[in-house]
């Protein structure tokens, strides 16, 4: 920094010119708890003079008060930001840090060590060019090291720095370093291909091999950490990949201008290039490129631009503009790797929102093929995925989308899954390839349609969905209602556990995943029955809101009537018509709703029946009146 400082004092313009033209490197630091990540970053900030004096004063006083280094400066305190973290001495969330040297500006994602925060590490890795894996020289390669190396490589990071830290506590023994390096390289051979590994012996605490090579490790002939970070080539792969532009925004200030805005993830584009927009697959020519408010002839990966076309091609937000020579693929079924990030499990059959590029669609996980155990990279059988697990799954979408395999272009192959009820981001995924059968499924269109069926029966088809605890009286009420509707010549059918569990769904048990699949099938059947014009009565415990939501979304607005048969648990248990509660309490039945499996009551049911106040026949009458009021009975 000394040359820089003199330039700063004597020639500020020269200094600024030099610093305006630096490149940018984004990297993550990860490793187990106590490997010294925060100390390393604090050291890099300190050595590159990015700590201001007032921060240094605060750091010195904090070090004495809560530091773990006695009278010495505790660099970790510089980066452990949130109060909860400082108290517990760990790094919970991803923290972004910034520093620069003469050659580069760096954005560091400092990611947490604990297993339960592995998802935060994936967050940091998704935008990184390089990963620094911290290893405590006393402990060697741990399960968490392997886990982090796996995540970094699956997210497409091709450069790993193996920072073998705390070498001062091992007297800078070469054999310690060599053993850990070869141990890791053996593991890394199982990771994705084309990964470069640079192992560096260091001590973040003593500053060994951080900015300059240290004479404490004369046997080491590689670069110091900063030398490596300043010179490692930033990936040019994206420039060489085919041109893509996900349309974020259609810019139309007046009738004379129609532009499509987005950030280019790969390749480059020139005025006059032939492009194709997907999924419409229309071809046209680029007539203008705006970079901000300037017209340019050419734009490249990384830039945010607005392009205009020669023809009126119907293009909207979510579409993908591609080079016509090598367009992306379009499909609605995929195999993908999914990293689960939510406390609630990922369940096959459940529907999630999927955001890929600027497009949001509905996606359903069809099947989990297997889970990847990160500590040994072996496949394990699995049906669902829990927090911090990675699996290979098949997905189907409600519409076809343009995409590239993630390994080829990150931005057009990476997606997030969003829970439809609480809107949380619950998973991240990377598309491997499209499933070919997607092209072969065609919906049959028929002339005798739902309207014809229901007109013939003089009724509006509907699903009356009875939900409630076991023994709450769902089937009793549904039966009474069915008899009542039959008596006034209405066409109905009752789906309940007895006629579905013994046939269609006899392969399903009572685990959460099976319950979801059970409800999915019942929902599909009731949808067919609605298409046939029937008033369909469904009587299932259906304990989860999101499955009931799924059933609701399968039919048209107004066709789904949720009937909450509200019987308190103690009342249902006291009735215990089938003796099931007794057996569940004795532990003879597992996963029994209300006992050791949750029931999520409806928040806004169309109809709520309090069975402690009305009889089954009275309840049926209430429902018939409700339907009549809404013109459902002709």
């Amino acid at each position: 920094m000394s040359d820089q400082n003199s330039l700063l004092e004597t020639d500020i313009r020269g200094y600024l010119e030099a610093h305006e033209n630096k490149s940018l490197l984004r990297f993550i630091t990860c490793g187990s708890v106590d490997d010294g990540k925060s100390t390393l970053i604090g050291r890099m900030l300190y050595d590159s003079k990015m700590i201001f004096e007032d921060q240094l004063d605060a750091l010195e006083s904090d070090s004495k008060r809560v530091g773990t280094q006695g009278e010495n400066i505790d660099f970790a305190l510089l980066v452990d930001g949130l109060t909860a973290e400082r108290e517990q001495g760990i790094t919970i969330d991803v923290a972004y840090r910034f520093f620069s040297t003469d050659k580069r500006k760096f954005i560091v994602a400092d990611t947490p060590g604990h297993v339960q925060y592995t998802r935060n590490m994936a967050t940091g890795a998704s935008t990184a060019d390089l990963a620094i894996l911290l290893i405590d020289a006393r402990r060697g390669v741990l399960e968490q090291t392997r886990r982090h190396a796996f995540i970094a490589s699956s997210l497409g990071i091709r450069k790993l720095v193996l920072a073998i830290n705390k070498m001062d506590l091992q007297n800078y023994e070469q054999s310690v370093f060599d053993d850990i390096e070869s141990d890791f390289i053996e593991f890394a051979e199982e990771l994705a291909t084309g990964i470069e590994i640079q192992a560096i012996p260091m001590s973040a605490l003593e500053g060994t091999n951080i900015t300059t090579k240290s004479d404490k490790t004369p046997w080491y002939d590689g670069p110091s950490l900063m030398e490596y970070l300043e010179t490692v080539p930033v990936d040019d792969d994206r420039l060489n990949a085919p041109f893509r532009l996900p349309v974020q925004y259609v810019n139309r200030p007046n009738l004379d201008f129609r532009g499509f805005s987005g950030q280019i993830p790969s390749g480059s584009v020139k005025v006059g290039d032939r492009v194709k927009t997907l999924p419409s697959a229309k071809e046209t020519t680029v007539t203008r490129i705006l970079s901000g408010d300037q017209d340019v002839q050419e734009a490249m990966a990384g830039e945010s631009v607005t392009v205009c076309f020669a023809d009126e091609v119907d293009t909207s937000r979510g579409d993908l503009i591609c080079t016509a020579e090598s367009p992306a693929q379009v499909a609605d079924q995929f195999q993908a790797r999914i990293f689960w990030m939510a406390d609630d499990k990922m369940l096959p059959g459940r529907r999630y929102l999927m955001k890929i590029g600027s497009k949001t669609v509905t996606a359903q996980v069809n099947e989990t093929k297997y889970r990847i155990e990160m500590s040994d990279l072996q496949d394990r059988p699995a049906r669902d995925l829990s927090l911090n697990e990675v699996g290979v799954c098949t997905l189907s979408l409600d519409q076809a989308i343009p995409f590239d395999p993630y390994n080829e272009i990150r931005e057009t192959g990476g997606f997030i899954l969003i829970d439809r009820l609480n809107n949380n981001t619950v998973g991240m995924g990377m598309i491997d390839f499209a499933l070919r059968r997607a092209g072969n499924i065609h919906w049959q269109s028929v002339d005798v349609n739902k309207e014809a069926h229901s007109a013939q029966k003089n009724q509006k088809p509907a699903v009356l969905w009875f939900t409630g605890l076991s023994g709450s009286g769902k089937s009793t009420i549904a039966n009474a209602l069915q008899k009542r509707l039959y008596s006034i010549d209405r066409h109905t059918y009752l789906l309940d556990g007895d006629n579905v569990r013994h046939g269609l769904n006899r392969d399903l048990g009572f685990t959460d995943a099976d319950r979801v699949e059970n409800i999915r099938r019942v929902s599909e059947v009731s949808k067919l029955m609605v298409d046939a014009g029937l008033i369909t009565l469904v009587s299932f415990i259906s304990p989860f809101r999101s499955e009931r939501r799924m059933a609701r979304n399968m039919v048209e607005d107004g066709e789904f009537v949720e009937v909450f048969v509200n019987t308190p648990l103690n009342v249902a248990e006291e009735r215990d018509v089938k003796g099931l509660y007794k057996r569940a309490r004795e532990g003879k039945i597992k996963n029994f709703t209300g006992i050791d499996s949750p029931y999520e009551p409806p928040t806004e049911p169309e109809i709520e029946i309090d069975t402690t106040k009305v009889s089954a026949d009275e309840a049926a009458e209430i429902i018939v009146d409700w339907m009549k009021e809404r013109g459902m009975l002709g």
């Binding site: 700063l8 004092e9 500020i12 200094y15 600024l16 610093h19 305006e20 033209n21 630096k22 490149s23 940018l24 201001f52 004096e53 007032d54 980066v79 452990d80 930001g81 949130l82 109060t83 909860a84 400082r86 919970i92 969330d93 923290a95 972004y96 910034f98 620069s100 580069r104 500006k105 954005i107 994936a122 998704s126 935008t127 420039l239 925004y249 810019n251 201008f257 987005g262 950030q263 480059s268 705006l290 901000g292 408010d293 340019v296 002839q297 050419e298 490249m300 830039e303 945010s304 607005t306 937000r317 929102l353 955001k355 890929i356 600027s358 931005e411 990476g414 997030i416 809107n423 981001t425």
Partner: protein, 304 residues
């Protein structure tokens, strides 16, 4: 440019990222707004918005929360920029606070900030039912900011829950919210103070003259040099005013924003001074120094 592609510099990349964020968030928003604080970060954010939506105007208004204690030059600059850009400018002040005569001299910095800034901002967001609010905060400003997402989710009560943030992957932003909830969006998250100044210089962005050194009347109050901007400075203090060459590293309420003595009256000199004096940016703001972790607490309560 010919046939060869230039290398993108760090400023190019930061600019492209910020434009991407703004377009992405606006595309899905119902009622977006840009919080415009009149400072240099707001100046950069507004400049980026003009670029991101060109040739259209940015499809959102500017909102300035006016504590009624801002420097006069800030208000003049604000109104001029709104006219020049043609954007709608909404100004909101906490009328209850005005009625009760809340001010920094009479009630202290903490209460003043709480009533005239934090509460006023919540009032304005509720009044106009904004679901997305852009803010100019940067991660390098303060430790708890370093961990905040670009899209920072707030409950219907405007609270931030640092332990329950949505993962933010690639450049995919999940901006789905329920009725009443909102998202604060920080397009400048990855910029540093130096990046901001370099970009202002590269793009020739107009900033409030208070950033440049000039002779100004200042008095010493609570250990800080404050400028006598109007006669609300208590008279016994005003009597001690002296003319000094000063400038401001940050801009806020004039009694809460310390002046630094300086001769820097060009952008280059400002940057040079910033790099050489090495005193971090928010030091001039009284609010941060109250107690360790105070910004995190403020944010949980709804401070931007």
């Amino acid at each position: 440019m010919g046939g060869t592609l230039k290398n993108l510099t760090h400023l190019d990349r930061l600019e492209a990222e910020s434009m991407h964020i703004m377009r992405e968030v606006v595309a899905d928003a119902e009622r977006p707004v840009m919080l415009y604080s009149v400072g240099k970060d707001s100046a950069v954010m507004l400049h980026l918005a003009m670029k991101a939506f060109y040739p259209s105007k940015p499809p959102f208004p500017l909102l300035h929360v006016d504590t009624t204690w801002k420097f006069k030059e800030m208000i003049e600059f604000r109104d001029r920029r709104a006219t020049e850009t043609g954007l709608e400018l909404l100004v909101h002040s906490n009328q209850e606070g005005i009625d009760e005569g809340i001010g920094p001299f009479s009630h202290g910095s903490a209460l003043h900030t709480d009533v005239m800034k934090t509460a006023a901002l919540k009032q304005a967001l509720d009044k106009y039912k904004f679901d997305i609010a852009f803010g100019g905060a940067r991660r390098d400003e303060e430790k708890s900011r370093a961990k905040e997402r670009i899209c920072s989710f707030r409950t219907a009560e405007h609270r931030w829950d640092p332990k329950n943030q949505r993962p933010e992957l690639w450049n995919l932003y999940n901006t789905r919210i329920r009725q009443g909830e909102s998202i604060r969006v920080f397009p400048l998250s990855n910029w540093t103070e130096l990046d901001i100044w370099q970009y202002i210089r590269r793009e020739g962005i107009d900033i409030v003259p208070l950033y440049y050194s000039a002779k100004r009347p200042v008095v010493e109050w609570e250990g800080t040099q404050i400028m006598v901007d109007d006669d609300r400075v208590p008279e016994e203090l005003r009597k001690t005013a002296v003319e000094k060459s000063v400038r401001f590293r940050t801009l806020g309420c004039y009694p809460l924003t310390g002046a630094v003595e300086s001769e820097a009256d060009t952008l280059e000199e400002i940057i040079q001074e910033m790099l050489l004096t090495k005193s971090s940016e928010r030091q001039g703001r009284v609010i941060d120094r109250d107690q360790s972790g105070s910004m995190e607490k403020k944010k949980q309560e709804g401070y931007f």
